[in-house]
Symmetry: C2
Subunit: 460 residues, 2 copies
């Protein structure tokens, strides 16, 4: 996010060297707001402003800047400040920045960092994208199970300024194996000599470094955690994921699900809608549109097969768009309900028959409603009866059209629920089978149902 509102004032203040005014202004702001205000300035101007502030505030603001602004700042020629900022940044933001820098800038920058930070960056950037390892941070506090409450509080006092969260502290054995968690609250309320082992909660909830980031977000959500410890294969703690990262993951996941559902491919772009170039928008959308258009050739072939029926009874064409759209709508509805319920862990593969039963009942009622509406419409249409061969009774045609429509609604609804359930059964992300894809399958089936019903009931 960037906010241009103060850009002219800030440029002016910088030009007139009113550094005290600038400093006191930014000291009063939340670092996130500061980042918004300076996001539109030139890298050199941002460097000048950050140089006025203490290193903690400066690195916080830097961490809130958009990644492209960070990259252009880091790629310039201001190495001295950069080193301090990068050292003070939260470890996960820092790793994220390094992932976006040119190889050559990374190498130069790594040389400037102390060995410990260097190792941390290299480790955090080595995990596969979207795993817990890739998004975790390494600033967390640990205690030994043998420490006393008193010693623990002393330790935390000493280490606190560098840690992302000190409200939950992880208790390990000397090798770093996670044994439990103790809250700062408990430590403060405890008797000084009480060993940490007696105060901690064992059986901590954790994720593995290779677990998907969504798993971490779900655990944090379900158990209302402030932070989730991440352990390696030997159960040694190697990082934590905090609740604010969980919120970001949930939002990201939400965008991804909605886009998939609407047949938009590619992960969520981090850039904002207006900043994504036209051809990227095009690339994200064109694939499904073309594939589904090609699939509709089958509908065309079915209609062609019934050419004589259609030419004899042109009224059938009038209700084709309604048939397609009612099928698409009801199929999308049931798919959405089921995909959402799967995402919220409300449904699993074994529920498939319950789901089908429920959707069948719902669709029977919807089919009846829409069928009745259309029956009335066909009967009452003022001009629609022109061109109907006199030997066919209009009531029979109305019945045929509304019956086909009701069957289409039932077929669409059940298929809309069945496809995501089946995908889930075979460990495919249910949202991948997008709502337009379901609508297309439903369309093709619907056209066949429609003309077959006409041929069978009316004998045309």
């Amino acid at each position: 996010m960037k906010n241009p509102i103060l850009v002219p004032e800030l440029k002016d203040l910088l030009k007139r060297k009113r550094f005290k005014v600038i400093k006191s202004f930014f000291e009063d702001q939340h670092p996130r707001d500061s980042a918004e205000f300076i996001g539109f300035l030139q890298p050199e101007e941002i460097w000048k402003i950050l140089g006025l502030l203490d290193k903690y505030t400066a690195s916080e603001i830097f961490g809130y800047l958009d990644i492209d602004v960070q990259v252009s700042m880091a790629s310039g020629k201001f190495k001295a400040n950069l080193k301090t900022l990068v050292q003070e940044m939260s470890h996960d933001d820092r790793a994220y920045l390094f992932q976006h820098l040119d190889r050559e800038v990374v190498n130069r920058l790594l040389l400037l960092l102390p060995a410990k930070d260097r190792a941390d960056v290299i480790r955090l950037t080595s995990y596969r994208e979207e795993t817990c390892g890739a998004i975790m941070t390494t600033d967390y506090a640990t205690l030994l199970i043998t420490d006393t409450a008193e010693a623990a509080v002393r330790k935390i006092r000493r280490d606190a300024p560098g840690k992302e969260t000190i409200y939950y502290i992880y208790v390990t054995d000397p090798r770093g194996v996670l044994l439990g968690i103790v809250s700062l609250r408990k430590l403060i309320l405890a008797k000084p000599r009480e060993p940490v082992g007696n105060l901690m909660k064992g059986d901590a909830i954790y994720a593995l470094v290779d677990d998907d980031q969504e798993k971490a977000a779900h655990l944090i959500d379900e158990y209302d955690l402030l932070a989730l410890p991440v352990v390696d294969a030997e159960h040694r703690i190697v990082g934590i994921i905090t609740y604010d990262d969980a919120i970001d993951i949930i939002r990201e996941e939400q965008t991804e699900d909605m886009e998939k559902l609407m047949a938009i491919s590619g992960g969520p772009e981090e850039d904002e809608y207006l900043e994504v170039p036209v051809w990227v928008h095009f690339r994200k959308r064109v694939g499904w549109v073309v594939v589904l258009a090609a699939l509709q050739f089958i509908s065309g072939m079915i209609i062609e097969g019934f050419r004589e029926t259609l030419q004899y009874l042109i009224i059938l064409a009038y209700y084709m768009p309604l048939l397609n759209s009612a099928g698409g709508n009801t199929g999308s509805q049931s798919a959405t309900m089921v995909i959402r319920a799967i995402a919220l862990n409300q449904l699993s593969a074994k529920d498939i028959f319950h789901v089908i039963k429920k959707e069948f009942a719902v669709s029977l009622m919807i089919g009846l409603s829409v069928g009745t509406l259309v029956f009335a419409r066909v009967m009452l249409a003022p001009t629609g009866h022109e061109g109907i061969p006199p030997q066919l009774w209009i009531g029979k045609i109305a019945l045929m059209i509304s019956l086909a429509l009701a069957v289409q609604v039932i077929w669409a609804t059940v298929l809309g629920a069945l496809i995501p359930m089946a995908a889930n059964r075979f460990k495919i992300d249910p949202a991948v089978v997008s709502s337009p894809a379901i609508a297309t399958l439903v369309d093709i089936g619907g056209i066949a149902i429609y003309f077959a019903t006409a041929k069978f009931m009316l004998g045309v």
Copy 2:
């Protein structure tokens, strides 16, 4: 969430009165897991199990039970236990429970509570649904601006067990007006005599009691807050909303947006998919389906108006489903992109021309792609040329169909983006204009475009 896996074992243990085993089992579990395991038992059985545990654990487990289980437990005849549980519950969960109980049960229960808790319940349940007041909790810690760090830590030690969070403490004047926030971390690290006023951060981010709950969730998300203070019109602090509530709100909002987008009406049911009765599913979905079906009568009337064109050139019917589906798909895509960008505050009303320009460019490229595909198809269809009057060149028909399709894609894409932008401009939730509604409007326009192009280009 309920997990039936342990139900037989638990029933058996209860029957055999193995209370020690039950007690030690539940003491080792996370309260959330415990709630899952006992969720399927009868209320009396749950009461028995909770009675074995200390009141803190019992009330935590009770708070994690599904609301309908809580209600059926509270409505039975076990008042003594209930009073303790209700007193110990977190204040927001408690208010939520009271909102779901029968009037008569509420009155009986309120009489059992101490005056302070009674006043708290009455106040929290009086706020309008989905406002900050309705979801906030009243267990938070406050300090006076004149307190010293030492006194503050003493105060917190004393009050801590009853508070939902003590990691951020709210600093007020004697009337309770919110002046700032101080972290427990800062208090612990400070010199004992330092007054809280020097340690706190002023200019706290806050919400008003009447603000929408989504605003609170967004603030917590944007500023990475652990908790957000809620103030009344006089700026006095009256509650806090914690990050875990924000996660719940974001999830709820996400379900609501997806359902709206898919033309499913009604707020997100709290119950799970399988627990919602068939007729509620029906009621949530039937409205839009019927309305949109009725709108499709217009498509039918348009086709009827072109009856002679269609009968003369029956090939036009073969590509109608493709035309409708390509329009629907591209319209849904652009609507989804724009609705999502608006939800994430990336777009505002003033960006409307940028959006239209961008969507026009994207749709031109998609239209060209699909148009080319369909041109090739019409030219190469092995049997599709039967019944075409000899005086019409097939190339001209192919050009006409693909041109109409491209225009339809452009119209659909631009309309898909325009409608949510316009809704947003007039302060209507953009997701209300559902994707099926857009698809229907696009369909109707598309049919008109299609036949008008045919008449104009082919003169039929």
